[in-house]
Amino acid sequence: AQTVTQSQPEMSVQEAETVTLSCTYDTSESDYYLFWYKQPPSRQMILVIRQEAYKQQNATENRFSVNFQKAAKSFSLKISDSQLGDAAMYFCAYRPWDYGGSQGNLIFGKGTKLSVKP
């Protein structure tokens, strides 16, 4: 079974600095998708960034970028120029490429709580 591990329960970063959140996963599949979701306190979970496993190029969305190491099964999130609004719980998630038609199976890690200090 696939698993997702986030080894840092909590992280802290100074405003305007850079922080990296770690994520590793375990799968025997070669095709899949990886996601980072952000869940601010008492607010909805939103997608931060997405990576297709078949793409070697690391995904980037403005201040958010990933370091995808497929062989190592590692998928870290880098937040540059951290802002107060970045404070949230961040979840790493894995989703298989399913040729069978199943639409479920978004597997989440336990999350990393990010605090941003002014």
Binding site: M45, I46, E52, P96, Q103, F108, G109, G111
Partner: protein
Amino acid sequence: DAMVIQNPRYQVTQFGKPVTLSCSQTLNHNVMYWYQQKSSQAPKLLFHYYDKDFNNEADTPDNFQSRRPNTSFCFLDIRSPGLGDAAMYLCATSAPGPAGPQHFGDGTRLSIL
């Protein structure tokens, strides 16, 4: 704006008293999901619908049921809530296929007295 709306935001029920949580979407997505998220834990998928096709996760208790009367609405029914069912319940939608991101509602926080 197209969105996923969950009602109510907070729900209190008594031990053993059936409760229904609702979710609606304006995204016209084929797939709708229900997750259970307990404090400081990752969301756990309970089940999902692809159109009218219902897919139950193997470890979802029989106490949890779902209905999807049309594309826009999906309901989570908890037949006899126990104290262990107190959690945040998240509804999400997506277009078909593994690449599409899931769009989440704000969640319903369920408390059991």
